[in-house]
Point group: C2
Chain length 359, copies 2
């Protein structure tokens, strides 16, 4: 298979992202050298087919540094120095702190273009690597003031070769955006989930899908997130302080709900929540539509969901989203089918006619 990439690629760091990049490029016939501070990790990635061990005479066209945020800048600087003709990028989820550190070290910034593929899994490591990890994802490209057009093009070509869609975003803009949509919610989810730790088991037993969704990302890796959060602390702190102020005003209101203005304070917070959700981007980048939900009850056994979705397919309906909910106390499952509102009556009627139990 031919690749958009000509020349060799060197990958520094054989974790989830480095291994995934190596797997995809190797499949395309690109010559990939992959290395890691841990020889065992590098050997594992090579075993998986993510590339070969580096040679002394390697002359990579592009180098991708895929290491934790706190050592990204020093490794980018080392690679820029060791390979004076190569373009170097990194995939750290913070961009300003890396650029600042490189600037302080007088690195050759013309050959450096930071980037951040918006892809990942809750599991890390080479073992989780997948050649298709980046397909259809957004890959942020953050050129700096000195980045050459050649370097920018090379990193964009890399992202496109991996199936990603690129978005050019300056480092400071990137960091502000991910502080909002990723780092801030991470802390909120973690602190919220933390309140369950000492709770009565019987209380937790009443938990449903609401809190489950709210705290899902609190299952993420603490070691990685300490680095991300401390590297983007400035933007994150602004959001947390804003949250803290509003939280305190809601607490004051709830301490005396009959006081003048108290209910208005609570209501406003809930109303702003409605507005915030409505700003999320929807399917295929469009503004989120208010999807209609058709809920179907199925027996909780293999094949039932397939049989349902086969019939949904026969009706010719495209699902926007699907949620499966197992009843905590019986052998039935509820399937929520999200569809564009105009389709809902048709789908509901068809499924009812076919004997499905709509809830």
């Amino acid at each position: 298979m031919n690749s958009r990439i000509t020349g060799s690629v060197r990958i520094v760091g054989a974790g989830l992202l480095g291994t995934s990049i190596g797997l995809a490029l190797t499949k395309q016939g690109v010559d990939v050298a992959i290395t890691d501070a841990s020889p065992a990790s590098a050997a594992l990635a090579i075993d998986y087919g993510a590339g070969r061990a580096p040679h002394a005479q390697d002359e990579p066209a592009i180098i991708v540094v895929c290491v934790p945020p706190d050592i990204t800048a020093s490794l980018v600087a080392a690679e820029l120095a060791a390979f004076p003709n190569a373009v170097v990028t990194d995939v750290a989820s913070v961009k300003s702190s890396v650029l600042e550190a490189l600037t302080a070290q007088n690195a050759d910034l013309s050959r450096y273009v930071g980037s951040h593929p918006m892809a990942g899994r809750e599991r890390g490591g080479a073992i989780s690597g997948r050649a298709d990890l980046f397909i259809g994802r957004t890959w942020v490209i953050s050129p700096n003031q000195e980045s050459s057009q050649t370097a920018v093009n090379a990193v964009e070509d890399l992202a496109h070769a991996l199936g990603a869609a690129t978005a050019k975003v300056a480092a400071t803009d990137h960091d502000r955006a991910v502080a909002l949509v990723s780092h801030f919610p991470q802390i909120v989810a973690s602190l919220t989930a933390g309140q369950l730790v000492e709770a009565d088991a019987a209380d937790v037993q009443l938990a449903g899908q609401g809190i489950r969704d709210t705290i899902r990302i609190a299952a993420s890796d603490p070691a990685l997130w300490v680095q991300i959060l401390s590297a983007n602390a400035g933007d994150v702190v602004q959001l947390l302080k804003s949250l803290s102020r509003e939280l305190d005003s809601v607490i004051a209101a709830l301490e005396d709900p009959q006081a003048p203005g108290a209910l208005a304070t609570i209501s406003k917070a809930l109303d702003r929540g409605n507005q915030g959700v409505s700003r999320l981007p929807g399917k295929h980048g469009a503004q989120a539509a208010a999807y209609s939900i058709v809920t179907v009850m199925i027996d909780d056994k293999p094949g039932e969901l397939a049989r349902l979705l086969t019939e949904v397919g026969e009706v010719g309906v495209n699902l926007e989203e699907i949620k499966l909910e197992h009843s905590p106390s019986s052998a039935v499952g509820l399937v929520e089918l999200f569809v564009v509102p105009s389709i809902e009556p048709h789908l509901s009627a068809e499924l009812s006619n076919r004997g499905w139990r709509l809830v």
Copy 2:
């Protein structure tokens, strides 16, 4: 169809819950009278088949008050007085404040048993009513000190007739539990989503599934939630204050990540988040297992998902959960299949052999 319910049922309040109860009981052949402060709402529910209009000579065996929390107690008291032989229950999502108000009014508590079906939809109103709404859900039954056994049995029979599983939980215990698993996450989600309101559109555009899950319930109805939160303010405030303290310590740590102990504070918050998530109940009430995830890339068109799940069914695998993710920028979708870990290698191998693209 025969019902467990003998005698007539009177439903006060023709919203989502009242209408759903009426639909289910009417289907079972029970005589149901349904009323609402809004004649139009009552008429709509009756049109849908949720019951008939009340008659002057009605002698209901059980009365279900399905109105917003702030008027629940006064309507329960009125029903107890108007029907001196009936058992009365309510479905409000707060229980202590209702019981306290009834006690203050010297209501006949022997015939009152509070309850709370843990079922709902983000949409309300009679129009969203479904006879199957309660099937497989937990229905909390909160007897008070004076509740007669006859009254408790009647409310349990009602819940069972509607397909729910009952759990007896005292009012104060119920309120503390739902403060934790429902009311507290609601405020957190709303305040977090509120931070998106004034954000740059370009920043919000980078939002992915993480923040989407974290703030999903912030789309709930503010008018209803103001009542719920103010009626359970005491328990909710304790949790919010604990969150506020921990939030402030994380803010302080992030303001100077290099200070002694700062990284440990952040790390501990993230680690407690991990622990909290692990306490959530899993499928069928079991402790949450760490499911394995098989991610499959499919064309984003009707029938593809069904074809995939048909083959999953052929392999004989029961899915624990399924998530569908549309790529923001291409015509492919990612399907995450959650399965018990021991099954994952088998499922992955089978799907690969059948030509599916695993991610």
